[in-house]
């Protein structure tokens, strides 16, 4: 039998990972909920931001915080660029075309990253202290990204609920035409939404580079998990995606200790498939 302390540690690690996954999932889910288009290449934008931090910090010797801010700025710029160049021209077209267009961006980014930077895995390792909490090992390299993720999600919540623009973003997701009658230009709201979603991708990239190594196919590593979380939580449902992030990260983390990380992903996907049949609208969807 496995020592309960390892399970407790796995549970804590699950929470720490869940915070960063929530950041990824909510960024993607915000864009889907408002614009009704799934950015298949979302985690590939995260990959670009990870590379930026790697080069700035590891190669050019920038301080970590400056590299992180640069990644956030790049993320927001990428969000705006993707919307203007790819999404905006195909807004009215068939859903399959929209999937193909953002899917095409995914292959473009993967190939271009391979061409520029080869398939080498690159990482930024920080030597930060760890704490021992009654036998549970708490590395600051995981605690800090978690704390920053939660702060960012609180900021997102306040933005969406307290400001005119944030409330308008929620309103447009419910009735685009009615929001036009309120005097808001829906296209401008879409642009702000894409910038915020991109900004969250940039922040996620700035945090993930300290947890994982980056390579051109990083999107394939976390992309499917991110989509699964969004669908499990209910596409467009922010609270649902937040809860689903922690469910998924706990499954992966605890199964990883009991068996292996691969087994964790297997169980996570099985849970996902079962939930799709049991609760197709997402875990928090209303019955009926």
């Amino acid at each position: 039998m496995i020592d309960p302390i390892f399970l407790a540690e796995a549970a804590v690690n699950g929470v720490l990972l869940g915070g960063v996954l929530a950041l990824l999932a909510l960024g993607l889910n915000l864009i889907f909920g408002v614009i009704d288009i799934v950015w298949i290449a979302y985690v590939d934008l995260v990959m670009l931001c990870m590379y930026l931090v790697y080069f700035l910090v590891q190669v050019y010797g920038w301080p970590v915080w400056a590299g992180g801010l640069a990644a956030v700025a790049l993320g927001a710029a990428l969000g705006i660029a993707v919307h203007l160049l790819i999404i905006s021209p195909i807004l009215g077209s068939a859903p399959i075309n929209q999937l193909l267009a953002t899917g095409g961006l995914l292959f473009f980014l993967q190939s271009f990253a391979t061409f520029l930077w080869t398939t080498d895995h690159r990482s930024v390792r920080l030597s930060l202290p760890s704490y021992d909490l009654g036998g549970i090992f708490l590395p600051l390299t995981r605690v800090i990204p978690f704390a920053i993720s939660i702060l960012a999600l609180v900021a997102l919540y306040l933005f969406l609920t307290r400001t005119f623009v944030g409330t308008a973003i929620r309103a447009v997701s419910q009735d685009r035409e009615a929001m036009g009658l309120m005097g808001a230009n829906p296209h401008r709201i879409y642009l702000v939404t894409s910038a915020v979603g991109g900004l969250m991708a940039g922040l996620a990239g700035a945090l993930l580079i300290f947890l994982y190594s980056v390579h051109p196919f990083f999107g394939g590593q976390l992309g499917p998990l991110t989509f699964m979380i969004c669908v499990l939580g209910g596409l467009g449902n922010m609270v649902g995606a937040f809860v689903a992030s922690f469910i998924m990260s706990e499954i992966i983390s605890i199964a990883g200790v009991l068996w292996s990380t691969e087994m964790g992903y297997v169980i996570a996907f099985v849970v996902f498939i079962v939930m799709i049949f049991v609760r197709p609208g997402g875990i928090l969807a209303r019955r009926g």
Binding site: F164, T167, A168, R170, A171, Q174, D175, E177, A178, M179, G180, L181, M182, G183, A184, N185, P186
Partner: protein
């Protein structure tokens, strides 16, 4: 010069023409009704005025500004607020957030607190329910919220699309009383209604719309009530 003036307005959906050569005017401070049978193009008329539907031919001026071809969010900025068919509230947003969205425009945002107090004074039930989701309100309350939301933009003209639709008869009477109060506050109103008898008591003038064309126009008091009602309902 009239506040709102349409001349020769034609519009439609795809190959279908819904409005033919429509001429209509609304003076400052006036309440005007457009009545007519189902499918006559009443909703289409309001949608073309607020810029949701493009004008295919003709001119549309508001306070001297040519509005034909302007998108909806620019028309609102000129001072036209549209209370659409079916209310079109943001159902999961609270009552207060729905009203806040009505004041989205920069001009309205500056006077947000002041306008909100006026709307709450006009519709006290909205103040009571301010933290409730819009979707949880009764039909009559939802219609009040839709009108309140339109007032939040501090409009000079309010377009009302079938305000009595789906309401119980008692609620219809209360709602018309409330619209009368909105009128007395000095707002100019263009209302589209099925409930001809009630609406003729509310307005100064009325137009009869049939299969996309204006068939009759007159002062509400002078209109042959019976004949007008019959035409509006049956289209004969």
């Amino acid at each position: 010069m009239s506040l709102l003036e349409l001349t020769g307005v034609t519009t439609g959906y795809g190959h279908f023409t819904a409005l033919w050569d429509v001429g209509l005017r609304v003076e400052r401070g006036e309440a005007v009704a457009v009545v007519g049978p189902n499918g006559a193009g009443k909703t289409t008329l309001l949608r073309v005025i607020s810029g949701v539907l493009p004008v295919r031919a003709g001119t549309l001026t508001f306070d001297g500004a040519a509005l034909a071809g302007r998108p909806a969010h620019e028309v609102v900025a000129h001072g036209i607020a549209h209370v659409p068919e079916g209310r079109r509230l943001f159902p999961t947003l609270t009552v207060a957030d729905n009203l806040k969205m009505g004041a989205y425009l920069g001009r309205a945002r500056k006077h947000y607190a002041e306008t909100l107090a006026r709307v709450y004074a006009l519709f006290p039930v909205l103040a009571e329910r301010r933290t409730q989701r819009a979707g949880s309100l009764s039909g009559g309350e939802q219609q009040m919220l839709a009108i309140g939301r339109a007032l939040m933009s501090r409009p000079r003209l309010i377009l009302l699309d079938e305000p009595s639709m789906g309401l119980a008869p008692v609620m219809v009477l209360r709602l018309f009383d409330l619209i009368r109060r909105v009128r007395e506050e000095g707002y100019t109103i263009l209302v589209v209604e099925q409930n001809v008898r009630q609406v003729l008591k509310l307005v100064d003038r009325a137009y009869l719309l049939e299969v996309g064309r204006i068939k009759m126009e007159g002062r509400a008091a002078e209109l042959n009530d019976q004949d007008f009602v019959r035409k509006a309902y049956v289209g004969l």
